[in-house]
């Protein structure tokens, strides 16, 4: 089976075929026909490169959004699971109090995986199997590892965790508009989006407790932890200081700097960037996830 042809079929779905459903279960049942078409084929392992190709076309359906979300949740769940296993094995040292937090975070990610698997399954759609992950970034030895000590150095582990969580928040935000056709689906996505943001903040707080210059919110004042051309897409656009209203040109806040009474204009600009998290496209999210998929 030509996986590219299969994905091309996905992209050509007639959007009018999607009916609005109010029931939480079976939300994708009208896409079930599509799902059954894909479920009939065995999806090959090594889906990584193909995921990126598909996302290059942009997501068009809730099915695509759910598959992106499931990929990211598989990734995060596996990441924390491997970290906890390394802790148990004694190869990764968790400072006091941190293991319980990572366990809770992992439990949430596992629940998120189950959520998307269940939603896809009960709708008769294809459920993406778990991709192969290598969190050192070496793609199982195919290239130099960007994070060779991800599961031996707690500081590196937290850095990668932060990148993954912040990416997840931005990715969910990028998909929200596509989910407006179904209130329940949209609300569930916003519920998960909030949990990922909590995670991101807790991870950042952990890094700060260990001495890193980082806030719980994405800030221009944070020390840079990304590598140009590798992971810098994680925070690209996050320091935006203008926001757009419907029908109006991008708005800069008149007088907001003067409203923030005790700070300098420079600090007010930083705060403006911090006060809004920005979305990323499915394509960028797929590329970032793809760093760890082989």
């Amino acid at each position: 089976m030509n996986i590219f042809k299969l994905l091309a079929n996905l992209a050509e779905v007639d959007p009018e075929a999607y009916q609005r459903l109010s029931a939480r279960r079976g939300v994708l049942s009208s896409l079930g026909q599509l799902g059954r078409r894909t479920a009939a084929t065995a999806v090959p392992l090594g889906l990584g490169a193909v995921l990126q190709k598909a996302y290059g076309r942009g997501t068009k359906t809730i099915f695509d959004t759910f598959t992106l979300a499931l990929t990211l949740e598989y990734l995060e769940n596996e990441f924390y699971t491997q970290a906890l296993a390394a802790g148990t094995a004694g190869t990764l040292t968790f400072p006091t109090g941190t293991r319980a937090v990572i366990q809770q975070i992992q439990a949430h990610e596992q629940a998120h995986v189950a959520f998307f698997q269940r939603e896809l399954q009960t709708s008769g759609a294809a459920v993406l199997p778990k991709p192969n992950f290598d969190f050192t970034g070496s793609k199982s030895g195919a290239k130099a590892a960007a994070f060779p000590d991800v599961f031996t150095n707690f500081s590196t582990f937290l850095k990668v965790a932060q990148l993954l969580e912040d990416t997840g928040v931005r990715a969910y935000k990028g998909q929200a508009g596509l989910l407006m056709a179904d209130n329940d689906v949209l609300e569930a996505a916003l519920q998960i989006h909030a949990v990922e943001a909590r995670h991101a903040a807790h991870i950042r707080g952990m890094r700060r407790a260990l001495g890193a210059n980082v806030r719980d919110w994405i800030s221009k004042s944070d020390d840079t932890i990304t590598v140009v051309g590798v992971t810098d897409a994680v925070y690209l656009g996050e320091d935006a200081t203008t926001q757009a209203l419907p029908g109006v040109l991008p708005v800069t806040f008149p007088g907001v700097a003067s409203q923030v009474v005790t700070t300098t204009a420079e600090k007010a600009t930083i705060s403006l960037g911090e006060a809004f998290d920005e979305p990323i496209t499915a394509s960028v999210a797929g590329q970032l996830a793809g760093l760890f998929i082989y």
Binding site: I105, H108, A188, H193, A194, R198, D216, Q243, F253, F276
Partner: protein, 236 residues
């Protein structure tokens, strides 16, 4: 005829000023019934509860969000003004950032609403202990957790995808705030499951709880100097 704020196209703002409701100051507005059809700006002191009526549609939802951001900004400002003796420098830096973000959110909604914006509100914080960091962060935790659930519950109600996108941008920052104040109150408390914020079991396990506007307004009612009539807000 309802005197509540009508949805206004942001391309066609008029300069009409509706001062039917002022709270901060001596001119307390009368009940909604008296306000109906009344252009009179003069104060009418009554014994009935003051009521803020939120409009229908996206404008009503924006004012709902604006009210919550006013509340959070005022709270953090008061926390900074009081400056509890046991707040550490890191606490103060964090509270300052929190205040700054909420002010920005507040001003953003105010700008978006234009003449549809509700008036500045004077909140009732008498139930909060601002004199200890425990008091401040316990209250912050309640407000932020409610704020997170509020933004989750309101997102689906907007008809405009632009407003949904903007609200989503703010929503994740509020979730970061919530995590921050919880960690400030009790470090690593995220290591213990808390079903009041994240569903613990069942089909929605791992999802942050959601609250409808009515539920949120009931939760923040102790801080408001009026009752809110949210009956015109969209429910789906």
């Amino acid at each position: 005829m309802s005197e509540s704020v009508a949805p206004i196209s942001f391309l066609a703002r008029t300069m009409r000023r509706r001062s039917f409701f002022r709270v901060a100051g001596a001119t307390a507005a009368a009940s909604a019934l008296v306000l109906t059809g009344c252009d009179d700006d003069t104060a009418t002191v009554t014994t009935t509860t003051d009521t803020l009526a939120l409009a229908s549609g996206d404008a009503g939802l924006l004012n709902y969000a604006y009210l919550l951001e006013q509340l959070e900004a005022a709270f953090y400002q008061k926390a900074l003004d009081t400056k509890a003796a046991d707040l550490t420098p890191a606490d103060l830096s964090g509270l300052t950032d929190l205040r700054d973000h909420e002010v920005i959110h507040r001003e953003f909604f105010k700008y978006a609403l234009g003449t549809s914006a509700i008036a500045d509100v004077t909140f009732n914080f008498s139930t909060i202990d601002f004199t200890t960091r425990a008091g401040v962060f316990a209250a912050a935790k309640k407000l932020e957790d409610v704020g997170v659930a509020a933004y989750i519950g309101v997102g689906k109600l907007f008809t405009s995808s632009v407003y949904l996108g903007l609200v989503a941008k703010i929503a994740s920052v509020e979730a970061r705030h919530a995590a921050f104040v919880r960690d400030a109150l009790q470090p690593n408390s995220a290591g213990t499951a808390d079903a009041t914020i994240i569903v613990a079991s069942g089909d929605y396990a791992g999802l942050n709880v959601t609250m409808t506007p009515l539920e949120v307004l009931a939760a923040v009612a102790p801080f408001l100097p009026f009752t809110v009539d949210a009956s015109q807000l969209p429910t789906s």
